[in-house]
């Protein structure tokens, strides 16, 4: 590895915040979920980088668990999105704002 780990971490930070902006700025729940996957992957990249830097494969295990959890989360999230918007005219989270105040 001839690239300093800081570069990888900086890359992961950039990806993370593209994800954050995606969650805030997009109204399509599917794209929001994809942005959340981006968040998780960015964290994974940081984990793997540090695992390499410290030569400690706990980071790999962590990243692996994150992948599994992300899969579970995506499944549940997609199911909720599917039942919520199945009969709606718009697939738009802004339309789902009955709870407020």
């Amino acid at each position: 590895m001839n690239v300093a780990p800081e570069n990888y971490v900086a890359l992961s930070a950039v990806l993370f915040f593209i994800g954050v902006v995606g969650v805030i700025a997009r109204r399509n729940p599917l794209i929001m979920l994809m942005s959340i996957e981006l968040l998780f992957n960015a964290a994974n990249l940081a984990l793997v980088t540090y695992a390499r830097a410290w030569v400690n494969n706990a980071g790999h295990i962590f990243a692996f668990l994150v992948i599994t959890v992300a899969a579970a989360e995506a499944a549940i999230g997609l199911a909720i999105v599917a039942v919520t918007f199945r009969k709606e005219p718009f697939v738009d989270v802004d339309e789902v704002s009955a709870l407020r105040g």
Binding site: L33, L39, A42, Y50, F62, I76, I80, T84
Partner: protein, 480 residues
């Protein structure tokens, strides 16, 4: 050649995990038994809930039996003993109460599934209570949350799905922050164990990682400004789930927070690293109580109240004194009973146990259902922090430790928040004792009598704990 598998877990490791394991495996039994029912009927529900109750009680007994012992299991991934046992018991109590409230909510043929999810969620919280490395924290949190996302959607109300969606999106985002914080912490120390964090030198990376990690926890605790999800989700979710969420999430997350703040931070910079937490607590006490002023829906009001109450609990941690931890747990135990009691009362006021109960429904309750009104008054007095309840006792204790630790501004905020909150809660009390023409009030009663059990137990506990506070005396050596 494979490297020697030196760290294969043994029976001793599993002994530490046994209660959580019992809670996690019971759903398999419930789902299996449920397979034999072809028709849905009340028995199907009774069997599922009954099994869950029995095994929860077993788990509670096992957990209590562990009390004097300390366990360090799975190479330090899971540590059990002292305060984490108390918090696990709180989780179990809350789950039992939730099951009592949930009779009559939802479809009979879904009860096995929802009960299973509830138990898994509880086991996630129990895992968190003993979690002692970043991985276990993350997994416990996700087990807890994923089951809750599903449970939130388990209602025919349209708002239930909305609450699930909001919860999922925001909570996942917060999990992302927690995860990124964990990654930075891992990067700063080269280890995922809390023990390694405690002995590390404080670098900006470590401080920032701790900060992002705490953001994730603060979201779960719904501290301001990470609280925005709470009222909406509490309102939309089915009532028993709301009751469950209001306690169990907090218990699990507070365990992690306590362990993190007390045992996983280098002592030299602990105060500076934790400072934002106290600011969040102060904000929560103010914003929670102020926002509750304008609420009329009970679940929503209790959500804001919960935000403020968590502020009080986190206040107890200020200065990370051993007494503070004790009193925080005492307050949480008291809050468990007061809050569950209030939810049980609300459940008794709706025919299907899950309607939206607004403040007008409480008008003149004292004349129509005096016992219910009396119990609700007690719980509200407790939440407001007035004697003779645990709310008062624990709050006084928290104030003294906070002042003793030198956080006078935090104690002042607590007093201010309490003063505001008195108005919030006594507003309901006043409504209950107002004289109202019965013809104008719609009165529904739940056919389910089990919440009465919860109401009675919680009422007794609220008073008894207030007069004779049981603080686990030997939690201090067991933090690590």
């Amino acid at each position: 050649m494979l490297p020697a598998l030196a760290n294969i877990p043994t029976g001793a490791d599993y002994a530490a995990l046994l209660p959580a394991f019992v809670v996690a495996v019971t759903p398999l039994l419930i789902l299996f038994v449920d397979l034999f029912y072809r028709e849905s009927g009340p028995w199907r529900r009774v069997v599922a809930v009954g099994l869950a109750l029995v095994w929860l009680i077993v788990a509670g007994a096992l957990q209590a039996g562990q009390y004097p012992h300390d366990y360090v299991a799975f190479g330090g991934a899971f540590v059990q003993g002292g305060f984490s046992i108390v918090l696990s018991e709180i989780v179990i109590v809350a789950t039992i109460a939730t099951l009592l409230l949930s009779i009559g909510v939802g479809r009979d043929d879904q009860v096995a599934g929802t009960t299973s999810l509830l138990l898994w969620s509880a086991s996630g919280a129990m895992l968190m209570s003993g979690a002692s490395n970043l991985m276990t924290v993350f997994l416990g949190l996700e087990l807890l949350s994923l089951a809750l996302y599903c449970l939130c959607a388990m209602s025919t109300r349209r708002t239930a799905r909305e609450s699930a969606l909001k919860y999922l999106i925001l909570s996942s985002m917060a999990s992302g922050f927690l995860l990124y914080g964990s990654a930075l912490l891992f990067g700063a120390t080269g280890s995922v164990a809390f023990a390694a964090l405690a002995s590390a030198t404080v670098t900006p990376l470590l401080a920032l990682g701790a900060g992002l990690f705490m953001v994730g926890l603060a979201f779960k605790l719904s501290l301001v400004p990470f609280h925005a999800w709470t009222p909406d989700v509490y309102e939309g979710a089915p009532l028993p789930v709301t009751a469950f969420m209001s306690i169990v999430t907090k218990a699990g997350t507070l365990a992690v927070l306590a362990r993190f703040a007390y045992a996983a931070l280098p002592s030299e910079h602990r105060a500076a690293v934790l400072l934002p937490l106290w600011v969040l607590a102060a904000l929560s006490m103010l914003v929670g109580n102020l926002a509750a002023l304008a609420q009329t829906d009970m679940k929503r009001l209790l959500a804001y109240s919960g935000i403020a109450q968590v502020g009080y609990i986190v206040t107890a941690f200020a200065g990370t004194s051993a007494l503070g931890l004790r009193y925080a747990i005492l307050y949480l135990a008291g809050y468990t009973f007061m809050n569950l009691g209030a939810f049980a009362v609300v459940a008794l006021m709706a025919r299907d146990g899950d309607a939206i109960v607004g403040l007008p429904r409480f008008a003149g309750l004292a004349a129509r259902r005096p016992w219910l009104a009396a119990a609700m008054t007690l719980f509200l007095i407790g939440l407001a922090g007035l004697p003779p309840t645990i709310g008062f006792t624990a709050k006084i204790l928290i104030l003294t430790t906070t002042l003793g630790a030198g956080y006078a501004w935090l104690a002042g905020t607590l007093i201010l928040g309490t003063a505001i909150s008195a108005y919030v809660y006594l507003k309901i009390v006043r409504a209950m004792f107002a004289r109202v023409d019965a013809a104008h009030v719609r009165d529904e009663r739940s056919p389910n009598v089990l919440p009465w059990v919860a109401v009675a137990v919680c009422a007794v506990a609220t008073v008894v704990l207030g007069l004779q506070p049981l603080t686990p005396s030997n939690i201090l050596p067991l933090v690590k």
